[in-house]
């Protein structure tokens, strides 16, 4: 009877609009949260959305060719750049200042020997993560990271020459020897490839090995820093690009393109999440406003019931439970709509060559639960304020 009295003045047209709004907002929120998480995971695996890192060097100009301007970086300069608000981190790429030879040392592989150029970068900038990436003075083994483009080029050549191609696994199983020398003294180390990088076009060795070798074999000549790796802060790539332009720095065109793409994708994902949250907030507000309207349309009934001896909490619960149930039903329908939408979107993505993880993301379900909890709190306070206004009047 109480419910019949309190809910008889419903404007079903307005209620329908509020329900549709909340349904769209919720479905949009779960879907965008789910794909935000899945696209991020996918992006990290494929380096689309990881840290926005690029390799920068000074532009070579006529004046630098003539030695009027320099093309290397001073350590103080790097410290200053590190202070910039758009730079997350900056680390030098250290090159060898001594002679390096690399040769095969494997009975199953034909002998092969070459002069080599090696570099070292801070571990945090590497796209290869391996426990074997370490070196200390007593170690006779040096791990190597090979540029991916090198093995691609090698396999293209082998294929054209009718020689069997080399897989990643095979390349990583070959034993090498690495020789370092300054003409007066030399040292030999065992070496093996432990991974392939897409970032740097040189053989990479651990920083510790490079420091040791440069100190011992470079005869006191300090190594010049001609390249640096820069990680820009989220959404601030544009500022870094402007800075590089102003300071005569450049990067490889494809790296710049990838960095721009990362910046765009990161910003877009942020915008989609923001829009989803706003959509849900707006639709929840419509529902809450409907609750307020229902309470104010029933002010006479509420006031009279309170005068008759009905406890305010009974009336608050009547309104609250009704709206919680309504929101739960909307959330359930929204969830079903999300599942159907997900099947369709996943299908389209697979057809487009993007295979995202197909399981439901915990974050999307959490977003739904948190929405429900927040709506429950907001609707309780709306119902409480609306009812208590008529107590003792």
């Amino acid at each position: 009877m109480l419910r019949k009295l309190l809910f008889r003045t419903q404007d079903f047209k307005q209620l329908f609009i509020a329900i549709v709004g909340a349904f769209i907002g919720l479905t949009f929120l779960i879907t965008s949260f789910h794909y935000l998480v899945r696209v991020n995971e996918f992006g990290e695996d494929t380096e689309i959305l990881g840290r926005n890192i690029l390799i920068a060097q000074r532009k070579v100009t006529s004046s630098s060719s003539l030695g009027i301007t320099k093309t290397d970086f001073e350590k103080e300069e790097l410290s200053e750049m590190r202070q910039e608000t758009f730079i997350d981190d900056i680390q030098p790429i250290v090159s060898n200042n001594f002679s390096v030879w690399l040769e095969t040392n494997d009975k199953y592989v034909p002998p092969f020997r070459t002069d080599a150029f090696i570099q070292a970068v801070n571990r945090s900038f590497l796209d290869v993560h391996s426990k074997r990436w370490k070196w200390h003075k007593k170690s006779r083994f040096v791990p190597i990271i090979m540029p991916r483009e090198f093995i691609v080029m090698l396999n293209t050549f082998m294929s054209a020459s009718d020689i069997p191609q080399v897989s990643d696994e095979l390349a990583m199983s070959i034993f090498f020897k690495i020789r370092i020398s300054n003409g007066k003294q030399e040292e030999w180390y065992d070496a093996k490839i432990i991974g392939f990088t897409n970032q740097i076009s040189a053989l990479l060795v651990p920083e510790e090995f490079m420091s040791y070798a440069n100190e011992k074999f470079a005869a006191g000549v300090p190594g010049k820093i001609t390249q640096v790796m820069i990680a820009s802060k989220e959404g601030k790539f544009g500022e870094l690009e402007q800075y590089m332009d102003d300071h005569g720095m450049e990067s490889k065109r494809d790296q710049m393109a990838i960095s721009r793409l990362k910046s765009i994708v990161g910003t877009l994902l942020g915008v989609i999440t923001g829009v989803s949250v706003i959509a849900l907030l707006m639709s929840s507000l419509v529902l809450l406003q409907y609750l307020q309207l229902l309470i104010s349309n029933n002010y006479y009934e509420i006031r009279t019931l309170l005068r008759q001896g009905f406890h305010p909490n009974n009336l608050i619960k009547s309104f609250w439970f009704y709206f919680i149930k309504l929101f739960a039903i909307i959330a359930s329908i929204g969830f079903i709509a999300f599942i159907l939408l997900k099947i369709l979107v996943d299908h389209l993505l697979i057809a487009g060559g993007i295979a995202l993880k197909s399981s439901l993301s915990v974050e999307a379900i959490l977003a739904l639960i948190i929405s429900l909890i927040l709506f429950a709190i907001a609707s309780y306070w709306t119902a409480r304020n609306g009812v208590m206004k008529w107590f003792n009047v």
């Binding site: 109480l2 005068r307 003792n392």
Partner: protein, 212 residues
């Protein structure tokens, strides 16, 4: 439950109060007492009803119920008071006009659980409205509404019944019938009542008559 009034003066009436008035003096209504409050319009009969039920707090002085100042009452105290200790027939009746007579009674009984709906039907029959059981209150005349409101007020336990001009739209015969059912229920519960009226000739047996 004893009701004590200590120098109560409603703020809107403060300037027009005379020394011999009800307002501004001390009064004690003993448990089970039957009191007639008589006054012309605008003297504060409805205000008095609203003060006792906590609907107004714009007054000076102190009101105690059962020895406790009503100014210290919280939400739970007022709710229990209205549900179990004080029944009221408001001057504007406070019926749910969109509901039927039966539904108005059901709603009250849903709150109090103290009587069966048949009891309400019997009383409705006594006041000559048995044919109105399923009619919405909005279609009833003022006199019929008054009788429904009186019956509804009796469908709860109470120690005091506050009646704010309950017979104003009733003819003498219907007023007499209503007085009868009120007296029967008040006797049954050993309760008291406060009847406010414009007409001092109301034939309700009382212990005390007070002029506002």
């Amino acid at each position: 439950m004893k009701i004590e009034l200590k120098q109560i003066i409603p703020i809107p009436l403060a300037d027009s109060i005379k020394k011999e008035s009800f307002w501004g003096n001390d009064w004690v209504f003993e448990s089970g007492e039957r009191i007639l409050l008589n006054a012309a319009s605008g003297k504060g009969k409805t205000t008095f009803t609203h003060l006792l039920t906590g609907l107004r707090s714009d007054y000076s002085g102190e009101i105690k119920m059962g020895g406790k100042s009503i100014q210290t009452f919280g939400m739970d105290d007022w709710t229990i008071l209205r549900k179990e200790k004080i029944a009221v027939v408001y001057q504007d009746l406070q019926l749910f006009t969109q509901l039927t007579v039966a539904e108005n009674f059901s709603l009250k009984l849903q709150l109090t659980h103290c009587l069966e709906l048949d009891f309400a039907r019997e009383m409705l029959e006594k006041v000559g409205l048995s044919n109105r059981w399923n009619d919405k209150c909005e279609v009833l005349s003022m006199g019929q509404k008054q009788r429904v409101a009186i019956i509804r007020s009796l469908l709860q336990p109470f120690e005091w019944l506050i009646l704010d001009e309950p017979f104003s739209h009733l003819d003498r015969e219907n007023a007499r019938i209503c007085m009868g059912i009120i007296k029967q229920r008040v006797d049954e519960l050993k309760a008291g009542f406060v009847l406010t009226t414009l007409d001092p000739s109301d034939e309700m047996p009382v212990n005390r008559k007070i002029n506002l």
